[in-house]
């Protein structure tokens, strides 16, 4: 009975290992089809370079071959990854597919690999060996998931730009995920070779790659058990059909395809979505923010009054349009600087430059000691700049708490490798990160929503979650890009209270906002942009009385004779018509 199914059992394990090599990059949001190429290179080199099983014994020969294969797979991934890691989505998929095809054609035309006939290999792999290898691979991805590394990969998958703004070195993480995929694919290639006895380049063609991808996606590409479930499911279908007596050649592939379609259409998370997801919650301790940083790295913040950011003649041009022109601005530690201006005034472009996401066309800027333009965004973040986005860029499929944990990337320690060997220090670090994240959530009033998916939060809560995520990085300069957009006036005034309390803690804040009333009551200094240029700068009272500002907002007095000239901008925007009767429910 068992013997009858031993090949099937082994193929489930091998298929799952191959699917894990797709999972390794899918968790980071990368679609690669090059794994078949890695497996091919690894299998052929390991069989060629490895020792003869007759001389050293079966198991040692297999182990050496596995080491060679995984190393070759990883090296191939580095070689392919370095030039292609800047590609995204389908482009990466096709580039890696081209690599796999090139490998196949090269091997077909080589003498040493036996050409189209391939090479014969002794059969060493037993079901037990295959399942042990699978267990090791699955263990790796199980421990990777809830570590700092795993969260960073998930963040890149959900929103690469936001991940970069949280200080994650996206290029390095994407490459490391790719290399892991290469090594796992190499492992698959070697095990496959030593199981099927004969390997040919055709075993690792386009359809093999598609099978691996399908297995990973059907199983579920955001949960570590997914590839195993997918492999079990897809390997079992033909067996089941055979057992049921379905024999005709075309019915089997047809039914398999129908099932595949059903799974992908009706089970968005793959088969793994049947498994309930455990959400970790921190113990509820430490109500106060900032005072208890035990275990987390703390930054050295600038002393009050020191220069945090210095912009000199900063300009940004988009194909002839001057989004920002010649802006000089100095931000000192402890200030709450408001940046206002009509739509299209260049506010967001300016903060994109300050946070390192967009290089300036001319001028220079130094923020917390780093030069803007040459420094990648994650380094700017590491220097202590943290921001929110005009259109909330949350990690949609992660919980609120996980979003904030990613925000704490820069102040927490890597835990993945220590989690692999169950070190208590890793557990302690994770707990401290969780507590820190929970404190940040409570600080913005989202303490009870920690386990909610970011995408299921209300709009106002999403804005506050973004602030919590930015706070978790313990920033020196916090940039808030229209945090009150879409909030009613009750939410807006509690936001104002929050921002002022952060300033009391010593944070330097740059606040972009259309709600001028909020800016006037929150900021210590206000800068007004119009058409990319600074038209006014000063204290809230000066700005509110400045005729140039009033003109920019309300048009000149002649065009709008009915409008009260002085201080009206504050009154006008504070009375938010959207604040209906339901506004009080949320308080």
């Amino acid at each position: 009975m068992i013997a009858q199914y031993s090949a099937t059992i082994t193929f489930i394990a091998l298929g799952a290992i191959f699917a894990y090599s797709f999972y390794a990059v899918l968790v980071a949001g990368q679609l690669s089809l090059g794994q078949a190429g890695f497996a091919s290179v690894a299998a052929f080199s390991a069989v060629t370079l490895g020792p003869d099983p007759d001389q050293v014994g079966d198991l040692p020969a297999l182990l050496v071959a596995i080491v060679i294969g995984m190393a070759v797979g990883a090296i191939a991934a580095v070689v392919l990854g370095l030039p292609t890691m800047h590609l995204r989505g389908v482009f990466l998929a096709i580039a890696t597919l081209a690599f796999a095809e090139a490998v196949r054609i090269l091997l077909l035309n080589q003498e040493w690999s036996g050409g189209a006939q391939g090479m014969s290999v002794p059969k060493i792999v037993t079901p037990a060996i295959a399942w042990i290898a699978l267990a090791v691979v699955a263990y790796w991805f199980w421990r990777q998931g809830p570590s700092r590394y795993g969260r960073a990969l998930a963040a890149i998958r959900e929103d690469e730009l936001a991940a970069r703004a949280m200080g994650i070195d996206v290029g390095r993480y994407r490459l490391s995920a790719f290399v892991v995929a290469g090594a796992v694919a190499g492992l698959y290639g070697v095990l496959w070779a030593f199981f099927v006895r004969l390997i040919a380049p055709e075993d690792f063609g386009f359809s093999t790659a598609i099978d691996g991808l399908v297995t990973a996606v059907v199983g579920g590409s955001t949960m570590f058990l997914g590839p195993l479930l997918g492999s079990g499911f897809l390997t079992a279908i033909p067996e089941l059909q055979r057992a049921l007596g379905v024999e005709a050649g075309w019915i089997r592939p047809f039914l398999s395809s129908v099932l595949l379609l059903v799974v992908i259409l009706f089970l968005p998370g793959g088969l793994a979505s049947f498994i309930p997801r455990r959400v970790r919650m921190p113990p509820t301790v430490g109500e106060d923010f900032g005072s208890d940083h035990a275990g987390l790295a703390t930054r050295l913040h600038q002393a009050s009054g020191e220069t945090v950011a210095e912009l000199v003649g900063l300009s940004k041009e988009y194909g002839g349009v001057h989004a920002v022109r010649d802006v000089d601005l100095q931000i000192r530690s402890g200030e709450v600087v408001g940046l206002i201006g009509p739509n299209g005034a260049g506010k967001t472009t300016l903060v994109n430059m300050i946070s390192g996401l967009v290089p300036p066309s001319s001028g220079r800027a130094t923020v917390l000691g780093v030069t803007i333009g040459r420094t990648p965004a994650h380094r700017v973040a590491a220097a202590g700049v943290s921001r929110t986005f005009q259109h909330a860029k949350l990690f949609a499929r992660l919980s609120a708490l996980e979003n904030v944990l990613v925000g704490a990337h820069l102040v927490s320690r890597p835990t993945f490798l220590r989690r692999m060997v169950w070190l208590t220090s890793a557990r302690r670090d994770e707990r401290e990160s969780l507590e820190h994240a929970a404190r940040c959530l409570r600080r913005v009033g989202l303490g009870d929503r920690a386990t909610t998916r970011a995408s299921s939060l209300s709009y106002g809560d999403q804005r506050r979650l973004e602030i919590a995520r930015a706070l978790a990085a313990d920033p020196s300069l916090l940039i808030l890009d229209e945090p009150a957009a879409g909030m009613n006036h009750v939410e807006a005034s509690s936001l104002s209270t929050l921002i002022r309390s952060l300033a009391v803690d010593g944070l330097t804040i740059l606040l972009i906002e259309h709600n001028v009333g909020l800016v006037l009551e929150t900021c210590s200094r206000i800068v007004v942009l119009n058409f990319g240029e600074v038209i006014a700068s000063g204290s809230p009272d000066e700005i509110a009385a400045d005729p140039v500002v009033i003109e920019a907002y309300l048009g000149s007095a002649e065009e709008d004779p009915g409008g009260p000239p002085n201080g009206s901008i504050a009154a006008g925007t504070l009375a938010d018509p959207t604040a209906g009767p339901d506004a009080t429910k949320r308080v």
């Binding site: 989505g89 090269l106 035309n109 059907v218 047809f254 379609l261 994109n352």
Partner: protein, 291 residues
């Protein structure tokens, strides 16, 4: 000269196939991997029409066009529309179209078996023409004329017609297009229909060119089609045309000067070089990053 013409014939089929591919990608940002299955299916259907129904090959081509269009509507309805609005629509669309392709190929296997099929003898006129010292058959001329004609027609459709305006609006921003009164679902379905119709004609022309149809013919051209649309620039119609012709010519000359075993490497070498040097392709525009 003979080689040049041969390259143009095969290249125009690649281009026609790739244009259908890139049309869906350029407008809807989805890669439809059922496209190669439509390519293969229509080759068999074309042969069936000529063999069983006794139609002339000239009548079979427009019928196959209609067949492809209908299959395209089915593909959109079954594999893509249900995924609308899902965060993983990109991956999921790939997989669902692969599943659909698997079903189509299985059905072909049921109907026609695994063997290679050919047009019945005497389906094509065997007149040969002399062009600048090279021999070409009427069939080859037809292939070139039909491909170029369809591609010109498509370009006019996209740039001049109301439907084309709708397509370009959706390519720019589906939500904005919907707000402005474009029936997004209908334009999407029509795009799939046109794309598949072109792929179907490419399939029957390919079968005419080599006078055979096999279950695996879609897979073979799929990779080349992907290479062509990358080389030409994802979503660029003139890019797919030029890319297809370049690939056809490069392959023919590679066989002559390097050897046939290396022919398939040409596509991927070209593809890789383009991806590294000019990721947006020869005719593609670099997208400005959205923050």
């Amino acid at each position: 000269m003979q080689q040049l013409l041969n390259g143009l014939f095969i290249g125009s089929i690649y281009a026609l196939f790739a244009i259908g591919f890139t049309l869906v990608f350029g407008i809807l940002d989805r890669l439809n991997l059922a496209h190669p299955a439509v390519f293969a299916a229509s080759a068999f259907v074309g042969i069936e029409l000529v063999e069983r129904a006794g139609l002339s090959i000239w009548l079979a081509i427009p019928l196959v066009l209609v067949f492809g269009g209908i299959v395209g509507l089915v593909v959109e309805r079954v594999a893509f529309r249900p995924l609308k609005g899902r965060p993983d629509a990109h991956f999921a669309g790939l997989i669902s179209s692969i599943a659909l392709a698997g079903m189509v190929i299985a059905l072909l296997q049921w109907r026609y078996g695994p063997d290679t099929r050919r047009f019945p003898a005497g389906s094509f006129p065997d007149t040969r023409l002399q062009i600048a010292g090279a021999q070409v058959t009427v069939v080859q001329v037809v292939i070139l004329v039909v491909s170029i004609g369809l591609m010109v027609g498509l370009t006019l459709l996209v740039t001049r017609s109301r439907l084309g305006r709708g397509m370009r609006a959706i390519a720019e921003n589906p939500n904005a297009a919907r707000v402005l009164g474009v029936d997004v679902d209908r334009v999407t379905a029509t795009t799939f229909a046109i794309s598949s119709a072109l792929g179907a004609v490419a399939g029957v022309l390919f079968a005419m060119n080599v006078n055979s149809a096999q279950l695996g013919m879609g897979t073979a051209i799929e990779l080349k089609g992907l290479a062509v649309i990358i080389v030409g620039g994802m979503g660029s119609l003139p890019g797919a045309l030029v890319g297809g012709l370049v690939l056809g010519l490069a392959e023919v000359f590679a066989v002559q000067y390097i050897g046939s075993s290396w022919r398939d490497l040409i596509a991927f070498g070209l593809l890789f070089a383009i991806l590294l040097l000019r990721p947006q392709g020869l005719f593609g525009a670099r997208k400005v990053r959205q923050v």
